[in-house]
Structure formats: C-alpha cells, structure tokens
C-alpha cells in the first residue's frame, strides 16, 4: 500500500444520527434532513389547539414524531386533516416496545399533499386495555391497516367497521408480531392439508422430515415410508 493512499482517507465520512429531543436549535448539519419533514409550524398549531395533550415531540434525522394520548387520536387526526391539510394517511401500524408500562404503540404516518409535508403521530397503549379509537371515518385508508395491526398485535380499534384478521386464518389463536410469539410459530396452530383423503388436517409442521409422503391422488395409495 502506497503512502499517498494512507494520507487521503478524508473523503469518507459517516454521520451517526441519534434520537434527539425537540430543541430550540435543531440539528442542521445532518445530511439526511429533508425539507418535507420540517413541520414546526404544524406543531405550534397543534400545541395551541390541544395544549398539554401533546405529550412529547421527538426529532430523528429531522423527522418530527408527536406523541399524543390514545383518547385524542381521532380528534387530532380530524384537526390535522380538516385544518392543517394533512389529507393522506400513508401508513399505520403497531410496535411492541416490550416495556412494563405502555407496552404497545401505534404510529400514523400522515402526508400533506398540498403543503408537501410529512408528520408522524404516535399513541401508546397499555397491555391492560388494548383498545384505541379507529380513525376510519377520518381517513378511509386506515381500514385495512387497522385490520393488519389487530391481526398482528391484537390491538382492538373501537368503532372499526369490519375488524377481522386480514392475513392470518380467522381461527388463528395468536398474535404473531408480539415479542413473546416464537419466530417459527407454535407447532399445530397452522394446519397443513390432509396427507390422505380420509385423514384429518396435518398438525405436524414438518411431515416430510418425519418420513411422510402425501398421496399423489385419491386413486393411488400413498407410497410406503
């Protein structure tokens, strides 16, 4: 290795982005900060309207996240949509924070098409009472996202028009994205088709590894093991 090469590594740099509290002087050095996520005017308007209901405002890479109590979520969303122009719900999902208190979190990514701004709302839910108000009547797009959140975490959305599981079978007994759910699933909770026409559903998740070969057709017998 030549000495020239050693002397010029300065072009490479890495910018670590820590999670910050909202400050008077936000981080302007970060190259990841985008114009669209600068929503301090919206936050001022929200604080004027809701006051103490705005529990916390955090900034990560210039993106604002507003934490509000779950009772307020419908009102805040309606205010953001009607008064501040956030007319599009990009996504909504749950998080299992795995903490003693306020274990679950639901986040809402809102976009203002007219002002070209993005905003994230967050509401925490305790394990004791896994409910939050549905925002389906504010944003129609929330329908299937809330069903997914219910399917994966078991969070119930009050007044949702059709709160059913969306991905997992309807008789599935678990909520797979909770932290205590094993990655490989619970054996027997998701049945495979029967190995022979008369047989019951296959509850073993690995029948092939245990030497079972399913029948080719109803007329032919299954090959012996």
């Amino acid at each position: 290795m030549s000495s020239e090469r050693k002397s010029s590594p300065t072009t490479l740099s890495f910018h670590f982005t820590p999670v910050d509290r909202a400050e008077e002087q936000p981080d302007t050095e970060n190259p990841h900060i985008k114009e669209t996520s600068e929503v301090s005017e919206t936050i001022t308007a929200l604080k004027e309207r809701f006051g103490d209901a705005i529990e916390d405002v955090t900034i990560y890479a210039g993106e604002f996240t507003i934490r509000i109590p779950r009772k307020e979520i419908r009102v805040v969303c309606a205010f953001l949509k009607d008064n501040l122009g956030f007319n599009y719900l990009a996504s909504l999902a749950g998080i299992d924070r795995f903490t003693e208190k306020d274990r679950y979190e639901v986040f809402y990514n809102l976009v203002s098409m007219s002002n070209n701004k993005r905003l994230r709302l967050v509401a925490r839910i305790d394990e004791e009472d896994l409910t939050i108000d549905s925002i389906c009547d504010v944003y129609r797009a929330a329908d299937w996202n809330e069903r997914e959140c219910y399917d994966m975490f078991g969070i119930r959305f009050n007044d949702h028009p059709d709160l059913r599981r969306i991905f997992m079978p309807e008789d599935f007994e678990y909520y797979p994205l909770r932290k205590e759910f094993p990655l490989l699933g619970v054996p027997g909770s998701l049945p495979l088709p029967p190995q022979t026409p008369e047989a019951p559903l296959t509850l073993d998740p690995f029948p092939a590894a245990h030497g079972r070969k399913p029948a080719k057709s109803f007329e032919e017998e299954a090959p012996s093991e």
Binding site: L183, L184, L192, P193, P205, P207, P214, S217
Partner: protein, 202 residues
C-alpha cells in the same frame, strides 16, 4: 402391407412419448420465481420446443404443476385443492429454494417446503432459478415419464418390472467412436482419479 411399411412398438412407449412431449403446466406462480417461469414459457427460452408452452390456468386441463415461490400455510390448502382437481397422471415441480425448503422464509407463516403436502417429483434449486434450470427440470420430468409403466403393468399382473435404463445425455469419446455415460465417468474418476477424456489431453 409390407410394401406400405409398418412399425412395431410397445403401447407404453407410445403413451409415454405422447405424454412427455405434451406436458401442460399449471403455473402456480406465488412469488418472484413466477417471473422466471414466464421467461421459461416466453419465446427466448421457448419451452414450446418441449411441447409445454400451453400454460393451463384450469387444473382440469393441466398435468404438471410448477409451484413457483413461497407457500404460506393459508395458501397450502388452496394449492392442494388445485392439485387434487388435476386429472391423473400428473407431476409436480418445486421451483426454487422457497418452494423446495421454505428458503429464507424461516418463519411462522411459510410452509418449509411444499413436499409437506404435495408429492414433488423434481426440486429446482436457485433463488430464483434461471429459466434453463426449469427447462432442465422439465426434461427430468420427461425422462421420468418415458420410464414409467402404465399399460404394461396390467399384462404383468401388477408385477414390478425393472426400469429401463434412463436416457441420459451421452458424451462421445475424443476419438469419436465410443460413448461414455456420466456414471462411467464418475466411476473412472473414482478409480483412477481422472477420466478417459483427460487421458487424451494430459
């Protein structure tokens, strides 16, 4: 009659010839492997050369199921149902790592290999496999069909017969007057550490 010329053959040979050269695949495209499966049927790779260009989207008209992509537990019941609706005789290809073993989807919702509920004949490795690999799998299915007994078995009272030696690609010796089969090559290599082909050009 002798003036016109005639041909003798076995009924099995004719049936197997017809079956193996007119396989109609049922494309069970579940994920990205299905894109490669489309290339396999499209003009560049041209599976029409093997008589399998007619993808049948009705299981009643298909006799080869190509499971292309990862299979969820929820989907597995639908796939088995489609498979049961296909008329005998039928064959199955598990295309790609996910259909064969679950692949990278080692999680609660994905079946770890579609052989857990389907009788798979040929597994194709790859993520996704190239269309050539799928053509090779199709040729393996064809070879399997050509070596099957369907009609003769009745005359033999169900007695099992020795299978005909499989039709493998032949390798001609460098001097051009002999034929080496791949298994011979393997044996030679095991015995001598080199093959007859390498003998000519040491």
């Amino acid at each position: 009659m002798i003036e016109d010329g005639f041909l003798t053959t076995r009924l099995d040979a004719v049936a197997n010839w017809a079956r193996s050269n007119s396989l109609m695949p049922m494309p069970m495209g579940l994920a990205c492997c299905a894109i490669e499966m489309m290339a396999f049927a499209a003009p560049k790779y041209d599976v029409a050369r093997f008589g399998s260009e007619t993808m049948r989207f009705s299981p009643r008209q298909a006799d080869l199921m190509i499971v292309a992509g990862w299979v969820t537990y929820k989907m597995s019941h639908a796939i088995r149902r489609v498979w049961d609706q296909m008329a005998d005789p039928k064959w199955c290809i598990a295309m790609g790592a996910c259909a064969s073993t679950g692949g990278m989807h080692r999680c609660y919702g994905v079946v770890q290999g579609c052989d857990n509920f389907l009788p798979v004949d040929v597994y194709v490795p790859g993520c996704p496999p190239r269309p050539e690999a799928l053509i090779h799998a199709l040729m393996d299915i064809q070879e399997k069909i050509r070596n099957e007994y369907s009609v003769t078995k009745d005359f033999e009272s169900g007695k099992a017969r020795d299978a005909i030696a499989p039709v493998r690609p032949r390798i001609v010796t460098p001097d051009g007057d002999g034929i080496i089969s791949p298994s011979e090559l393997h044996d030679q290599k095991a015995r001598h550490g080199h093959t007859a082909i390498h003998d000519k050009n040491p």
